[in-house]
């Protein structure tokens, strides 16, 4: 394992800056023996410029060639060995099994996008052939497909050092779309980032891709400068609401505005129907406590708000949950900043009038204790939405409403979230439909009888939702639809076959499914 600590620019390693920073041990905040150079302005520009140079070459790669490149990255990621696993554990405090799982998730994600590329339907081909005899005017031949937006800046996420970082879902979907990627490495796991970037670069070289197709920069402040480079044509971000909004504002001031997809803030409300907690309240409480504390609660899909109907069953359920939460061992968080934010968040929640603590609160210096709060349902109706501010960590909030009517009434006023879950028994089903229909408008994923943690990477997944869950509810950052963020349609009018891009040519040389004259065709 060789850690160079400089930028990845156009296939070279460059780091001219004297400003450096270290990686830290998540368990005790002591610095690890790896030093990183913060990217200079010139290095940032060079990375963006290299991506722009690579763009015409990379976007012109054939589907099979591009798919193999994604698979080559997957192979390199799978080959990252135990030394790698160990250093990710050191940097993030995440347990070994989680990191092994995330490594597999990351390579599987790349392979899934390879399949998407081969399938070719992301090209969105539509062909309307000429109607020369049409009255009053003939119709010309018009053919549409989708092309890469251009170089994409991906911000590594702190809480998913592999699956949402250097070679995570944003990078995989951007590369699949034909976009070069310049990653802003997350400063919480620079060693992890460097090792994954080395893996990507090996794949770039093996596949003979243009060197600028992948770049990576270190340093906290480089992101803002990178997204102002005119060569950058889209931004993908996973992080805080504050961070996401700041990026959006910076982008809005560019001479040329560009799309930003920021996945930001969600407390993932869970709705407990009376029959469910009556039938299996203890089981649900146990599962909920596990979901809230999984990975020290450091998931964007962490269930941070639990709403049920006031009564004996809900009281009993609350007690079960309090007992479960109180038994959870203290957990190491990703880094000191995350831990401090968690503590401050807990303090803020504790200080809200109408909020009481049911479990937790005690913390040692280096770890986070799980916390359970209870709040009055009136607080859900306060315009500043104090119960919907995300506190990142192992905490959740119980709220009892006065029956199903109030439960239904509060939904339209919820802010946007990534997910909402419903727990319902058979006896609850007749009451569920209006709740589901209302929730659909507030979230990207509606879940029945399961917890929101765990986001399947598949064709149908939506990891998105109305603001502030994301900056653009029309997109998802998990699942194959994520590729749509980085494509734009172009049409050709009146073209000769020889001048058309291959996917649009008459005899369909790539054998793609195409929408021709209003009907689907594979020939």
């Amino acid at each position: 394992m060789e850690i160079v600590g400089t930028q990845f620019i156009d296939g070279k390693r460059i780091g001219k800056s004297a400003t450096t920073f270290y990686s830290y041990d998540a368990r005790n905040d002591e610095s690890l023996p790896y030093q990183f150079h913060q990217a200079t302005g010139a290095e940032i520009s060079a990375a963006a410029a290299a991506a722009a140079v690579a763009c015409p070459v990379y976007r012109a790669t054939g589907l099979e060639e591009r798919a193999r490149f994604l698979e080559a990255i997957a192979i390199e990621i799978d080959a990252l060995d135990d030394t790698f696993i160990n250093v990710v554990m050191l940097e993030t405090g995440l347990p070994e099994q989680r990191i092994r799982g995330e490594r597999l998730r990351t390579s599987s994600q790349l392979r899934l996008f390879a399949a998407v590329v081969r399938r070719g339907d992301f090209l969105g081909i539509r062909i309307d052939t000429a109607l020369p005899e049409r009255q009053p005017l003939p119709r010309p031949d018009i053919r549409q497909y989708r092309i890469a937006l251009g170089p994409v800046t991906v911000f590594g996420a702190g809480n998913f050092p592999l699956a949402f970082s250097v070679a995570g879902g944003d990078t995989a979907s951007a590369l699949a779309a034909g976009c070069p990627v310049v990653v802003k490495a997350h400063s919480g796991h620079p060693v992890t980032s460097e090792l994954v970037a080395q893996a990507v670069v090996r794949a770039v070289e093996l596949c003979g891709m243009p060197a600028g197709v992948f770049g990576m920069l270190f340093g906290d402040s480089v992101g803002a400068e990178l997204i102002c480079c005119p060569e950058i044509k889209a931004v993908a971000f996973t992080g805080s609401l504050q961070g996401g909004r700041a990026l959006a504002e910076i982008v809005a001031r560019r001479p040329e505005p560009i799309p930003v997809f920021a996945e930001m803030s969600s407390i993932n409300p869970v709705f407990m129907f009376p029959g469910a907690i009556q039938e299996r309240g203890a089981d649900i409480a146990s599962g909920l406590a596990a979901s809230v504390t999984l990975g020290a609660g450091q998931f964007c899909t962490n269930p941070g708000l639990v709403i049920g109907c006031a009564g004996e069953d809900f009281d009993r359920f609350s007690q079960y949950l309090a007992t479960e939460m109180a038994c959870k061992p203290p957990a190491v968080m990703l880094n000191r900043a995350v831990l401090n934010n968690y503590r401050n968040g807990i303090k803020t929640l504790s200080g809200i009038s109408g909020v009481e603590i049911l479990a937790g609160a005690a913390t040692d210096e280096n770890s986070a204790f799980a916390c359970l709060f209870k709040a009055s349902s009136e607080l859900l109706k306060v315009p500043s939405r104090p119960l919907e501010k995300e506190v990142f960590g192992p905490v959740t909030m119980l709220v009892a409403v006065q029956g199903l009517q109030e439960l239904l009434e509060i939904i339209p006023d919820l802010s946007g979230h990534l997910t909402a879950s419903i727990f319902a028994a058979d006896s609850d089903l007749p009451n569920c439909k209006p709740v589901v229909t209302a929730l659909e408008c507030r979230v990207g994923r509606v879940i029945l009888n399961a917890f929101p943690t765990g986001v399947e990477v598949c064709e149908a997944m939506v990891h998105g939702g109305p603001f502030p869950a994301t900056s653009d509810s029309r997109c998802t950052s998990v699942g194959t639809l994520a590729i749509d963020r980085f494509l734009r349609p172009v049409c050709y009018q009146g073209y000769l076959d020889s001048l058309l891009p291959e996917p649009l040519q008459n005899d369909n040389p790539l054998r793609l499914r195409r929408f021709v004259n209003g009907e689907w065709s594979e020939v």
Copy 2:
């Protein structure tokens, strides 16, 4: 014909404001006998609120019901009689044939979206069924479709009083998506707007749709206030760069940002290959002059920049074009503001060092004369892009480059445009491919041997392109893909069939094409 001159709010007509304005005769700027009340703040809020109330009802309409509603609007638009045609002519100065054509285009567009709704593929259904035996973890059942974003504000466009205004493409695509619409009527054609809105309201009533599904407000300053209403979830705009950017900035300051699609500024470069102008320069010049002056040049697809290779053939072509342009009669423009802007634009172009006038310049008080300019190719490389500032009206600019190499070199530095056209003879074809590939990156539509005016409404059309052509190159405002602007994906995890929306249910009751476990299925 009864013109009330008040707002359309929740099926009622309301106009409390003492602030009024008139419609004007485009030919002479004299006021017509129709007075309009500017919407008050309360009226703006009420229109947005009514749309929000209508939203859950409207988005729940069945596909057939919604398609019939769009067709009912089409029928009402087709039924607008000669009185209507005459008043549109008065207000806009556009000729009768154009308005009749635009009426047909508008109703056809609504019928095309009815077909899209019936087809149902805009729902983007993806189903991944459960894999309970999968290791290490089972996969839950996940089903995705797309739902309406919510109420949409549509800004009527001045240059298309029917096809891009009250019941134009933005409204048709938003209604097709299941979104209520609140139109900000263009103040250049308020009578036209009122009559079309009355037609829409008749369709709303005939079809028993919720009254708030369509609203319309009068007044120049109401747009900014309307898009700040929290109920509004998307904005569609066609107009100036200045106007579009202002809207985007207003929206960026909302507590909840929303998608804005603004189609703004394009000069639609035309590239003349040597063989084409040698073979048929006179024909091309004649066609180009007709395209530039069509509808007094008031098209967003007006060809405002013509680039060819310096030499005798291009000189001769330029002379043909100058002769053609000089013969064009003066034209009435949409209104006095448009005429004044045109004159100012011509003045600005004339004042650029390196630009000379070849035809035009003389104007009478009430109309616009066609103008032809010629500029040095060096001006294409000036960072402020003086030749790419849209001058809205019957004007174009000739630029001679030193051969095909320079022609190819300037393309990557062009700003974004809606279209680019290439004129090429058979002898030019070997040189065309790199030009086409480069142009694809700068525009939404690449045209061969035809002029950009005339935008076919079909499945494959892209009326979009990189900034400043639009604010989001991933979208189009013409063609059926326009519906995508107003939809967002939602997924259901682990649901019982009875709780799923119909399009996602197991037995596919709506018989839609669905993407199931990675394969297309119609069962």
